[in-house]
Each structure stands twice: as C-alpha cells, then as structure tokens.
Subunit: 131 residues, 3 copies
C-alpha cells in the first residue's frame, strides 16, 4: 500500500488524481493485475468519470447538491450529513485493471477524489496486486 | 473466501460488521494486500461510512427512504423494488487495503451491511488477497 | 486482463453479462481469489442486481431516469450529463469472489453492464486474481 496526500480547495469538488495513481502503478513493477484506489474518509469518496471536460464534474456535483441538500432534517449534529450520504452514493474505492505494467483507463476516464466536506487535507491509498 | 452470517433486525438498517471482517483479515495471515467484502444478495448491499455516531447511518437510511419510496409505480411485483434500487446505489462490494496484517480503515470508517428488505439472515463474503 | 465486447440495444438498458464473465473465470484456472469486472467508459457502468425478473432492471432504470433527467440545467454540452451522473452513482467496477474455480454469485445475482448513452458497442474488462 502506498498513500499520497491531496489538498482539496473547496467544500465540494472533484480532484483528478489520475497522474499520481498512474505513476504509483508504473513504479509498482506489476505487469498484470489490478489497482485499488480508496480513501480512509467518510465525507469524501472516489469515482471514475470524464476528466476531459470539467463541466462533467460540475454537473455531477450540482446534481448531488440538489439531491442531497447541505441543510436538511438530519440527525447527525455536525452539519455534514449530506457529505456522508454523498460518500456512500459514490463509494470509497474503485478498482482498475493493470496491464503491461500500466493503469488501464478508458480514453475519457479520470480517477477523482470526490470531496464533500472540504477544504481539507485528504489521503488516497493505492494497492497494486498481481492478477 | 470466508463467509459469516448476519441477522438484520429491521426492514432497513445498517449493521456494523467491522469486527468480524477485521478478525478474518488478521486470521488470513496476509501482510500486505487487499480485502474484498461483498454480499450475495440483491436487496442488501455494503458500504463504508461513519460508525462512531449512529445518526450518520440513520440519516443515510432516511435519505434513501425519501429518494426511493417503498411504494411506487414499480413493475416488479414483490414489493421490494426500492430495496433492489438502493442496493445498486450503494453497491454490493467494497475493497479495503490490508497492511501490516491488518485491515486499513480510517479513524471514523466502519464497514456496514446495508439491509433494505429485512429482517433476515444475510451472508457476508470476505476475500483477502496478497498485494 | 481479458476483455469482451457488448452491443447495447437502447439508450438506457441493463445487459446481463454473467455468462461471459463466468466463462472467463472458469478459463482463468484460479481456484480461490477474486474477479474484477469493469468498463473503460464514462457513460456506462456495471452493477450487480437481480437477473431473474427483468422488471427489476426496468425499475432501476426508471428510477434513475426520474432522479437524473436526460434534459436539465447541465453545463456539459454533449447532452449526456445524465449518463455521466448515473455512471458515478452505480460505479464502474464490481468485485466478486472466486471459489472452487468459479464465480461466486448469489442465487438471484446477475452482473450487468448498465448503458446510459447507447445504443453502442461497449467493452467489459475482467481481471481474475489469486486470493
């Protein structure tokens, strides 16, 4: 397991961590296998989606903000229940194939840390396993 | 693969299975790798979220109950379409790193079986693989 | 990693790929381990849900169509923002145990490619790893 820090600039944002993950996979020396990317947080998740047009990330965040309002009839008193809910909707880990020693992503896919209660310092864990 | 049973007490509830999974990982004798936790069900899923304050789980369930009503214009005649939908929204598996022979979870993270059509006896599968 | 093509017949549909994945797992010669099924797309995902009654898939698609409208106040100009959002809600990969050389699914579970911007030719990647 290798980890790296991510500084998230806003309360809700998607931070593209594809370059960091791709480098860790190249360094791992695993020709064929899989790569797990996950976060040890409960108000931030990870997701794969389009990284070419930043409006895709904005549309995803805007949808989630509408579906899971920041203020609502929540019981958790810290004021970030929406962030916990969004984290479970997107998930805390994604798994991507490794082939030819490299991360296998589609042409338009990017790996995002999805921040829902920032700005903060976050951690991303990466595990590379042989197939 | 190792499996253990879970008795869910209500139609919709989150059952914290972190202790059972952590013990299986310790017993597996894998120093570095990953742990997959999944369920063989279609009306219950798994998710990582905060386990310290039970209100986080209650808020998540209340949100899902509002977003995906139990009764609605569904075609599936068994009366549990909402449970199937919630299962796909949360997902049927989570993957967590293993390091130093132990499950790597964040300070606030707990592993939950998410029941949407209980009460029932459910099964959780755990696979530990070398990294 | 092995891959296979899937022809999706409609803009939004769930295509059951369980037989193809089960055959690849049998062919992989791995007795105990795990199987990752993922897609290199950003407007199609993968999910596990009931395959016996096709109305379960229809209810899931109808729910998503209502929750994430095709036309809306989106910024991404390609007219498929709903498909990107649905992909992140369902996720791009699922992980299933392998035991006795076979894919371990529950009685009612099927593995679906979830198309949200078809009809198209899609690709499914399968990685089998030793546990």
């Amino acid at each position: 397991m290798t980890s790296f820090p991510v500084r998230t600039p806003e309360r809700e944002c998607l931070v593209d961590v594809t370059p960091q993950v791709a480098r860790l996979v190249s360094d791992a020396g695993v020709a064929e296998g899989l790569c797990v990317v996950c976060v040890p947080h409960t108000t931030a998740g990870v997701t794969l989606n389009e990284s070419a047009d930043p409006d895709v990330a904005r549309d995803l965040l805007a949808f989630l903000a509408g579906a899971v309002p920041h203020r609502g009839p929540y019981r958790h008193v810290e004021g970030n229940s929406d962030a916990h809910i969004k984290t479970s909707l997107l998930g805390s880990s994604v798994t991507v194939p490794v082939s030819g020693g490299r991360l296998v992503l589609g042409t338009w896919q990017g790996l995002f840390l999805a921040e829902f209660d920032g700005p903060r310092q976050r951690t991303v864990h990466v595990v590379v396993a042989r197939g």
